[in-house]
Symmetry: C2
């Protein structure tokens, strides 16, 4: 019906536009809660319910889950990139490197959704991925610096940081509130394994391409129902 | 209606019993495939579909997911317990210990469902849990032996094996077919961190009770829909 009532997103529709903005903010706040608790596999429908908006409104504001992920986690990814910058400022490169791993893993432990985000890729989440790239660039320098001091093993590969995040996500998601600090022990073991002298050789790292493919697939999987879940 | 027609599970109902047995075997075979591919969160409905049986038949044969898990994974848990026995036979206790971790983690990599089973508890899956307990008893001796040689760090706790399985499940589930050997690198790092001399102290282990609580919760979660998934 074209009754002359402006579309909620139309120009000049001030009160309705405010509604749209309010809904957007409610959805983002709800998604923060739901993803932090349940991880990124939580459905758009459960976010809509938590926000108290209809599913149609939900998809009008966020047509894809990647857009929602971008809106919810870009700040967090910014903080993640900031942690790299802080680590690079440390006058002790090894201490900076270790502190960064601990901070990043603590960010995973504090938020199941972000724990997942660090193990997944979302190519259309522009802000999020731009900040992840920024963090990655800093990480490469952090690794080089730590190796230059001789304390980080030479065969450490940037992809190992992703693997550490995957392992940590496994511990965080499996232990949850029942054993909320268990991840610290695993991360401590991993960090100790990285210090020179290396205790032995390692299997080859997975390589950038295969690992990125895995992260893409995992990201896509969050947008599609778990197999057999919807029936 | 008591028409005298024997119930399908009743005594003397040979043809029907065969049907029931056939369905049972088809369901177990289908569940093996589905769980290995999708992990233990795959629904009963998706197993029924893979088996080509109705959901009613599915629930008649396996009223709860725990019963299905028991039927599907008891053999695998038996093999896991056997691996402990093999490790205990190794004349080099450290080599036995390390070989056991690698074998157990390889079993996780080969089967997403079993990767999950090792991080979850299913109290009513009697055969499975009995074999897990058997493996656990052997593991305690394996740990004692490895410590006695002086090569396994003194602060290693039996719960660390569960944490290693949780970390490995995180890597296995996140990398999947895109990087099928990535887990080997993380497990190699963890194993190297366990050898004496320890590089430093560790945060306290989570303790048996909290970890078991986490495993129970994770096991229960596989039987209930993922939050927001079913709507």
């Amino acid at each position: 019906m074209t009754t002359g009532v402006p579309h909620s997103d139309g120009p000049g529709a001030q009160p309705l536009r405010s509604d749209a903005e309010r809904n957007r903010e409610r959805i983002i706040a709800a998604a923060r809660t739901v993803f932090a608790r349940d991880g990124l596999n939580a459905s758009m429908a459960s976010v809509a319910r938590e926000a108290g908006v209809g599913i149609a409104t939900m998809f009008r504001r966020f047509p894809t889950k990647e857009e929602l992920v971008d809106a919810v986690f870009s700040d967090r990814m910014g903080a993640y990139a900031d942690a790299v910058a802080v680590a690079l400022d440390d006058s002790d490169p090894w201490k900076g490197f270790v502190g960064y791993i601990e901070t990043a893993c603590a960010m995973q432990a504090a938020d199941s959704g972000f724990a997942d985000v660090l193990t997944m890729a979302f190519p259309t989440a522009k802000v999020l991925e731009q900040r992840r790239n920024q963090a990655y660039e800093g990480m490469l320098r952090l690794i080089d610096r730590a190796k230059a001091t001789g304390r980080l093993r030479e065969d450490f590969d940037p992809s190992d940081l992703v693997l550490i995040h995957m392992a940590n996500a496994g511990v965080v998601n499996a232990t949850g509130e029942a054993a909320p600090d268990a991840w610290r022990r695993v991360v401590a073991l991993l960090v100790q394994s990285l210090e020179t002298p290396a205790r032995g050789p390692l299997p080859a790292p997975p390589g950038h391409e295969p690992l990125y493919k895995a992260m893409l697939r995992a990201g896509r999987d969050t947008s599609t129902p778990t197999p057999g879940r919807t029936d």
